[in-house]
Symmetry: D2
Subunit: 350 residues, 4 copies
């Protein structure tokens, strides 16, 4: 019963079938194929505007390459201090861009306009001793399992515009965010000021596929060369693109994300009911996508593991905490069993 991560699960059957289908006859390599072209058109439909799209195989590649197109070596990028680009990519954004990443605090994984405005004002010196503030990266859904509302994005974009910096969105769990928001994709992206989006699909049910989506084609100019130079131009590209095509077709991406989110909500409800009985136990963040962060007594954590549940420990301000992640294929029965087991453990602990 796996709640470790949405990348410890396999591939959605629809996507696996599409992969099989794509294995017919030859096709031009390096993205000069019909699948890749169709993905770009499909994303233009989804975002209701022209876009430039580049498929890659990993989320870190998508982020690092996007950031490198936005920020020069003597520039800086702001991100939440717990963002993946900040702490979980072994410095990939810095490697690709040369830029300085500046960590900012924020409750529940979110940056606020106020925090950004203060930092940008402080750091805009016009002096060559300081790197030039150039872009902000927002994670959607956030590292804390929360989701920026369109109005929140717009408020941040307003600060960005005022300080003349660009906006990147790390959408490793973009589908979960969109399923949660229930608004047209444009409202939570380019209409809200996002310049470039790393649209994740691997965690959503693909094998290894992410799409970098440029809402301003002018920004994409160097991307092709940068991707090749980074070793991220997959030669048999159709097999990456077909994953994206299947994922984005007929609303599959949202359907899969809705399931994962629903499982997370069921867990959240169960926990909300159960945790108050347990001193020191609580949900650390609102549950708005497919991740839950739960502070629990060590004994309860051990008990859950002994009962066969898998999940990661998570750093917490005080006490111990765990992260539970639901996925496109998380089974309702597993969720119920986890809640039942937790209920028993709490009963025993109380």
């Amino acid at each position: 019963m796996n709640f470790i991560s949405d990348n410890s699960v396999g591939v959605a059957p629809e996507i696996m079938s599409a992969l099989m289908e794509a294995n017919r006859g030859p096709s031009m390599p390096y993205g000069n194929d019909d699948w890749t072209r169709r993905v770009e058109r499909k994303l233009a439909d989804i975002f209701e505007r022209e876009v430039r799209v580049f498929p890659v195989a990993t989320g870190t590649a998508a982020n690092a390459l996007s950031i490198a197109t936005l920020v020069p070596p003597y520039g800086s990028l702001y991100a939440h201090e717990e963002a993946h680009v900040m702490v979980d990519e072994c410095g990939a954004p810095e490697f690709y861009s040369g830029a300085k990443l500046k960590p900012l605090p924020g409750a529940h994984g979110k940056l606020t306009p106020e925090v950004l405005d203060r930092a940008l004002t402080r750091d805009t010196s016009g002096d060559v001793h300081q790197v030039i503030p150039t872009a902000i990266s927002l994670t959607q859904a956030t590292e804390a399992g929360t989701v920026y509302k369109p109005a929140e994005l717009q408020a941040i974009a307003e600060v960005a515009r005022r300080h003349k910096v660009r906006l990147h969105m790390d959408g490793a769990r973009f589908a979960n965010a969109m399923a949660s928001l229930g608004v047209p994709a444009r409202q939570a992206t380019w209409e809200a000021g996002i310049d470039v989006l790393s649209l994740g699909a691997t965690k959503g049910g693909c094998m290894a596929a992410e799409a970098v989506v440029f809402f301003d084609p002018a920004l994409a100019e160097s991307f092709g060369h940068r991707r090749m130079r980074g070793g991220h131009l997959v030669s048999k590209m159709r097999f990456v693109s077909v994953q994206l095509e299947a994922y984005l077709s007929d609303g599959l991406w949202l359907k899969l994300a809705r399931h994962a989110n629903a499982m997370a909500q069921r867990l959240a409800q169960g926990l909300a009911a159960a945790l108050p009985r347990l001193p020191g136990a609580k949900l650390l963040h609102p549950v708005e996508a497919n991740e839950l962060f739960v502070q629990l007594p060590g004994g309860v954590i051990t008990g859950l593991r002994q009962a066969g549940f898998q999940f990661d420990d998570w750093p917490a301000e005080e006490g111990q905490a765990v992260r539970l992640v639901t996925a496109f294929n998380t089974e309702a029965a597993d969720v119920e069993q986890l809640l039942r087991t937790l209920g028993n453990l709490i009963g025993r602990a109380a």
Copy 2:
């Protein structure tokens, strides 16, 4: 009828099946899975010694990351002036290592001990104004479709040892080379002085899978972090590793390569018989793997294309040339038809 490249073809059915099979249940991400462990063991068997193995999704990543572990930013790497690392990776080896790549000439895509010795002697100054010669990269099979014999590798390794530089092998078509040589893998790798091998599998029949093989584990120390920092640690790694596992099992890699090589040999024989009738037409290099480089009159090239054959133009010293690449699934009928069509075109031209 596709002779463009071995990456314009699809995936071998055995590998596709293994991919399907691997899509069962969860597994730990980032290479902490059984498939990845089995690949390392399988390569230890094939090379008859302990090895450290890192799967990645592209050949450029395999090369650039390998080279970065061998060469410091103030060092240099020697390679053939037409090597993929030199002219077809948009500077990826330089990006990853910071090192300077020094091009060297050589007939039929091969470096010789003499050329290397001369360059290394010239460039070993001990002066901080010059980068430090640190490694050599050999392509096996070469960019010209030729293959280094073990004795040739050993002679180069002897020069490398004398000058205290390391040996990297770009084995994007390693299987074709090994099928051509018919010797145990160790004889053409570590026994012949190779330190690190980029073992290609994508061109051989996989979807997107290459293995970096370290024969000296001490050299591999920083590889894990470098791979992550480059965005090349695939999260659902089992789907890369299972390709390698299937490819390397039961001699599939050699079987597929033997077929591609045999198709190339059939083409070579047909061409050897036909070309002498056509002034200015000739094979530019010995055919030892699965690539043929053919100088042809422009009219004949056009005629072949009009007849439905696909292939790339290739730069030639004089006149015009094309490259024909055979693959694991090239059909004998296509080869025969190409030779027949060529015969007709020559008949008409003569």
Copy 3:
């Protein structure tokens, strides 16, 4: 009356004379000269052990190159959040090393063992997703004009040793620190665990000269090539080295620093007497070297400027603040006049 910075003043006469003297006849370029050799010997005497010494022309070069020898591209360096390496070198340490710089807080410009231990414990994951903690940079004297005592350095070194990280010291104002401490140089450097020191001389009275001092010669191995690659190997090196030689001879470096420190102390005493009369005015940090940070009402700041005093504004938590820097040639009369003027302004303000 200049209190802007110790780099807005000129060159000490003893050093200017030495420069003239060195301009006789030819000498080998690139540091193969007697002046450079003598500097190394002189520093061996001062530190009472063998050292490897590399002269460069700027403090940023000294820091960035030192850090690059200590930290690999996938490593991290900890420094105070207001350290020069962190905020005033436009990302030079990152450029030269590739490493990630991690800012840490600390009162009065100082890092503490506790803050470091917490950060190192948090960041030592052994996981390739995270950069490897590799070194700490301490500024001596600090950006806040305070000085680490040997015992403070030892306590930090103990944390560093436990976490297997190296210690770099940014000694742009090393002479001011040593003049303040009054202990043998070894006690505040290698005996206290420092591995590499950027020994500043420009701010102390030279024209453009800094010495990178390696206490462990093994760490210096790549420095020569890195310096050249960074464009920091001055061809007529004798003219950099002779500055260092003169500066370090006959205790000149300490004599000049003692004067600057004494002027700062006189200012500090005067301010300590005057400021209590002025609400909201105060010294922000203890005055232990040659910099003072003073919170003052805006009107008083304006008044000082109108009276002809030059100094920089400085960011403060609340209200307004300025930085006053004394130098090797600050005149006592200027200090007295500043205090008198301030007294008058306070009288008027009160």
Copy 4:
């Protein structure tokens, strides 16, 4: 009797005096001083147009930083295979720009329009696998002691324009070239298509001073930040700028260069008369600036050294060769003595 290099000599007395003079009172650091402003105006006068000027302390910094403003990481720079940027800067241009340097051959240290056109045509693929040809660097005077004529520069610029690449000039010995050409500076720079010039002054008689001169201010936009990030913003900048000011005032730069050139011409004449008597001895290149490359029998080389002459060995196609460099302060007596000694050695050898 030193013929090793123009950086093994000292500093011209006029420049030393100016340095002394500049050491009066405080001045704003980091180039916000009058000396730096005057240098920019002086160069505007010399080049008869607006220019943007950045002083740095080394020629490698000037070259590497200039190139980094012209060439993106996925671009390439062409230079002569023996150019300083190619073989004597330990990869600094690559380090600063990330770009690939492509070596091209050419007689007597010069690139020709034909060689450049062929390379640019070959390398302009529009394919992301190849780096984008972006700039050419010409060395003036060349590494072989020859000088590009304005018409030669224009012909190269015409090729550059056609292929849309920029032109950088490494003018480490720009004064020697201009003294040799005897034309207005504009004719051999921006009028002939040069975009950026590294104007060397150290070899010409300064202590450590070079000026990066942008003829198109738009290209200079990122230079300030790049210079700081490279650690090349000298804090007490007036002492670099005053060297340039003195060097460029009253035609001193040309006067000093004319002397060096005249000494080289005297040597060249003497050698032209003497060498024909000695089998295998010859001048390897035309003598057009202040460097001579002489093929000589080993015994004669040894003899010259035993007689007290200092110079470097130089690589030669066949036999042995040496380089003789004259400087602003080379004494005519030394030149005569060298010729006399050579005459005696030839007499004995014959």
